[in-house]
């Protein structure tokens, strides 16, 4: 799944509710909140990564590169998942800035892909023993039915 496709969901969610407020304000609020949660997760991964790299470096000498890389793989996955998530937020914001007509967007597929990608971030954090932001877990709790409905491959 491309980051722009993932990005469609956030403004659409915002558009659906709070009708007495402008949909654009709602969309921007959702993006802002989602970005704050992402920053929180990023901070946790940063601290964990520094510690894990230090330990792996001490444990595996320069002739044990593959062992070092294996030890760091879950952390690298977490960094990658966060990068995709942040790119999606920026893409969604760019859509808002462009004034695109959101009614033309394919909601169902985007919703499924959003949930799948969010689960990817969530799993990556859990794999390295970190607690994901509560916002992530709660959205996944009610959106579980959408998993597997994404026609692309979330990265």
């Amino acid at each position: 799944m491309t980051a722009p496709r993932l990005a469609y969901i956030l403004p659409v969610i915002a558009l659906a509710g709070c009708a007495h407020l402008s949909w654009e304000n709602n969309a921007r609020y959702v993006l802002s909140t989602a970005a704050k949660a992402g920053a929180q997760a990023d901070e946790r991964v940063h601290d964990g990564y520094v510690k894990a790299a230090k330990e792996a470096n001490a444990r595996h000498g320069i002739d044990e590169e593959s062992e070092y890389q294996a030890a760091m793989r879950p952390w690298n996955d977490a960094v990658g998942a966060l990068e995709v998530y942040r790119a999606a937020l920026l893409a969604a914001q760019a859509l808002l800035d462009s004034g695109l007509d959101l009614e033309d967007l394919a909601f169902e597929s985007s919703a499924a892909c959003f949930v799948a990608a969010l689960q990817g971030v969530n799993n990556a954090l859990l794999n390295v023993g970190l607690r994901p932001p509560k916002v992530f877990a709660d959205i996944l709790d009610i959106s579980e039915m959408l998993l597997g409905m994404c026609d692309g491959e979330p990265r």
Partner: protein
């Protein structure tokens, strides 16, 4: 049917967002709207910087004489 599913998903996610993000209630009540651009709310990828730094450290270690 697809529309029903879509509406359910939208409603559910929105309801959840309203519950989880308590600040949304504040917005609805007109008590404030803390909107930041993504770049402000999440100015840099700290974890990616940590990864770069770790890779540099590893390379430096390889270059150092044993």
């Amino acid at each position: 049917m697809a529309n029903l599913g879509r509406d359910f998903v939208i409603t559910s996610i929105l309801r959840l967002l309203r519950i989880v993000m308590g600040e949304v209630i504040d917005v609805l009540e007109g008590r404030g709207l803390d909107i930041k651009r993504v770049e402000q709310a999440w100015p840099e990828m700290k974890s990616a910087l940590a990864k770069l730094e770790a890779e540099e450290n590893r390379k430096r270690k390889k270059r150092e004489p044993a």
